[in-house]
């Protein structure tokens, strides 16, 4: 498996699968609710525990069929999760569930009064009872091994293909169930008698074995449990514990408590299945969303890159074309008898200036869109505005304008790249200063305000204003590159603002001049 594959797998198993993802608050609440329900079911029938109800072996058969299917499905889903994650503990748990489902089949077949009065497979009176003990022991033992194996080799996963591991697991389970069935039927004489007759046990013989096993399993899962799957498993174990306690309160089959324990058992068996199904479905949804978001992000990043590239190409093309023409002229000039030295000097000055201009454009692009500038952080827009303002103080003097900064309230937190947002501010302020140079306006206002869920920045000038017929096209690339004083222009501003999920626009100011606005979605608090 290559590095990317491993990374993908780790991502999948660590953050998405039920076997790794931590339980959510609502899942915890639901688990607590089920627990309370189970305890009620446990306590409620106690006063009537010896009440005998109708003897219905068919009930047992139906229940066994349902339990078989539920456990088989659970085992299959767990196997499926195992094939995704390669986690050995999951394989163990799946094996446990498979064992349970197979033992249930044997139990159903050997149950006296089920298919035949004595039970199939040459069963004795106590065969199904013994099988029930194995059945009950199966899950706690699997859970204990599950937790312990996870503790021992937390990082070690099996390597694919997993089919061999799964087939081995199934064959082992099959062999164990067959062996146990043979033991309780053919080898019946070897086992101590536990039944008075078909309807009554001598004493709750399984209690001293099963209850401690279950308590140990519950303790271990409780202590080591981290994932949503662990939570469901814990519930199941508790439910089985309750069912076991219930059934040990009576020695009679078909008593009220006996039926109650069966009901709790069914509920218990279904819990992990329900959990797995819910998780699998929501996982599928999450994955679909993730894929969609990924595609969307890729698209918008491509558009972003495209916009930056075309602006960069245009910006670099201008000085480069000028350099090329100047060099051609200089070449012609040097072939003359007496070259015009003054002209050549002029040409070289221009070439140097254009080269510096191209380098400046590149540096600006790098600063704005380089790796460090791409990093998204949560920052105070008001603070960035004040910083930019301070940086530009010298420029304000040079431009001979009076600038004013207003930041009511704040901090105004937004998410994104401070370097890029600063680039937008520098652009808008330079543009404003430039347009005032034409009209002789002197005042510039910069304001950062919070409006609803947005932080809005205004840059207002007393300049010549924007030709209203230009409209949105001032933000189009290539429209103008005239006399930019340290900025990459409005198209880049729009690219940046839109990459921050914001909006940029302008309005004519009431008396004279223009107000440029841009808004960014406000972020409430820094994410940790």
């Amino acid at each position: 498996m290559d590095a990317t594959g491993q990374e993908e797998r780790r991502f999948l198993t660590d953050s998405l699968l039920i076997s790794k993802a931590g339980p959510s608050a609502s899942q915890r609440k639901f688990a607590l609710l089920v627990l309370v329900l189970l305890l009620t079911v446990c306590v409620a029938p106690l006063p009537f525990r010896h009440v005998q109800l109708a003897q219905s072996p068919q009930f047992v058969l139906v229940l066994d069929a349902v339990l078989f299917i539920v456990d088989l499905l659970t085992a299959s889903l767990l196997y499926a999760h195992f094939t995704v994650s390669g986690s050995r503990p999951l394989l163990i748990l799946a094996t446990g569930y498979l064992f349970t489902s197979f033992v249930i089949v044997a139990h159903g077949l050997t149950f006296p009064g089920g298919f035949t009065p004595e039970g199939l497979l040459g069963a004795s009176v106590q065969s199904s009872n013994y099988l029930q003990i194995f059945w009950r022991a199966g899950l706690p033992i699997a859970s204990i091994v599950y937790v312990l194996s996870r503790r021992q080799q937390p990082a070690r996963a099996l390597t694919p293909p997993y089919s061999r591991a799964i087939i081995t697991s199934i064959l082992l389970v099959l062999a164990a169930v067959v062996a146990l069935t043979v033991l309780v039927t053919v080898g019946d004489q070897l086992l101590p008698n536990i039944m008075v007759d078909a309807g009554r046990r001598m004493w709750p013989v399984d209690a001293p074995i099963i209850i401690p096993l279950e308590i140990v399993a519950i303790a271990l899962v409780w202590r080591d449990g981290r994932s949503a799957l662990d939570l469901w498993l814990l519930l199941v174990l508790v439910a089985w514990l309750i069912a076991t306690i219930l059934v040990s309160l009576t020695t009679y089959r078909f008593s009220l408590v006996w039926y109650g324990s069966r009901a709790v058992g069914l509920l218990a068996a279904s819990l992990v299945l329900i959990g797995l199904l819910v998780e699998t479905t929501s996982l599928y949804g999450r994955l679909a969303l993730l894929a969609m978001r990924g595609e969307h992000e890729r698209q918008s990043r491509l558009q972003h890159v495209d916009a930056i590239l075309s602006v960069a190409a245009h910006e670099l093309n201008q000085p480069l074309s000028a350099i090329a023409l100047n060099v051609a002229t200089a070449k012609t000039e040097t072939t003359r008898q007496s070259p015009d030295v003054a002209l050549l000097r002029e040409i070289f000055d221009d070439v140097a200036e254009d080269a510096a201009r191209a380098a400046g454009t590149l540096a600006g692009l790098r600063q704005t869109f380089g790796r460090t500038a791409q990093e998204r952080v949560i920052f105070d827009l008001a603070q960035v505005a004040s910083e930019t303002f301070r940086l530009l103080q010298a420029k304000f003097k040079e431009w001979q304008i009076v600038a004013e900064l207003t930041v009511p309230g704040g901090p105004h937190l937004v998410s994104g790249s401070p370097a890029q947002v600063q680039q937008v501010l520098v652009n808008l302020i330079s543009n404003a200063a430039e347009s005032m140079a034409a009209t002789g306006g002197r005042r510039l206002w910069l304001a950062v305000v919070r409006v609803m869920d947005d932080v809005i920045v205004q840059v207002r000038d007393e300049g010549s204003g924007v030709d209203p017929t230009m409209g949105e096209s001032v933000f189009d690339p290539f429209v103008s590159s005239k006399g930019r004083q340290g900025g990459l222009g409005l198209p880049i501003c729009r690219t940046i603002v839109e990459a921050h999920c914001g909006r940029i626009w302008f309005e004519a100011a009431p008396d004279a001049g223009t107000i440029f606005f841009f808004s960014l979605p406000s972020t409430s608090a820094p994410a940790t």
Partner: protein, 200 residues
């Protein structure tokens, strides 16, 4: 002819404008450089022979708008563009631009395009001059002479013209002789050529 040909340069990128002007000057062209379409239009004299090299994207009046304005005075022009936008290039050529060059500019392409534009301007100017000349001559004719002129050019014989105008053939010959002298032509072929020049 009113003086030498000029190459008008219009580009909002000052540095490129200067380089372009310097380059064309070194190749022996007389240039006039303008940083915007507005400045250019303020200084532009349609009677001055020459062509225009215009940046496609400029603030204010842009290259395409300027082309529409210049079409009316018949000034040949070529475009330089910072980005090779094919549809706009095609549109510009359809509307009569001599060439559509993208930056960085191929110097030879620029020179040959400027030459062609200047030639087109000269040819157009010569045509216009001939036309004006012809119009001037025609207007010197009397009404009768003009009628005879039209009929001769239409291929009618003297006898037919006399019948059409209801005058004697002798009088037709008289008008015809005077008309030919005024127009300074010797043959009917020359008359037809002159008539063609009347339609601009």
């Amino acid at each position: 002819m009113s003086g030498p040909s000029f190459v008008y340069l219009v580009d909002d990128d000052i540095s490129f404008l200067r380089a372009l002007e310097r380059f064309l000057r070194s190749k022996g062209y007389d240039c006039l450089a303008f940083a915007s379409a507005e400045e250019f239009l303020a200084a532009h004299d349609p009677n001055q022979p020459g062509c225009a090299v215009i940046d496609l994207t400029m603030p204010g009046i842009d290259g395409m708008q300027l082309q529409n304005l210049l079409k009316r005075v018949g000034r040949p022009l070529l475009f330089v563009s910072g980005n090779g936008d094919l549809p706009i290039g095609v549109l510009a050529m359809k509307q009569g631009a001599v060439d559509f060059l993208t930056k960085p500019i191929n110097e030879n392409a620029l020179l040959s395009a400027v030459d062609e534009a200047l030639q087109r301007d000269l040819a157009a100017r010569t045509d216009r001059q001939k036309h004006n000349h012809a119009v001037l001559k025609i207007t010197s004719l009397t009404l009768r002479e003009r009628q005879v002129f039209d009929l001769v050019v239409a291929g009618r014989l003297n006898k037919q013209i006399a019948h059409d105008l209801e005058i004697s053939e002798k009088t037709v010959k008289l008008h015809r002789g005077r008309m030919m002298t005024k127009l300074g032509v010797r043959s009917v072929t020359d008359l037809v050529r002159l008539q063609e020049m009347l339609t601009p």
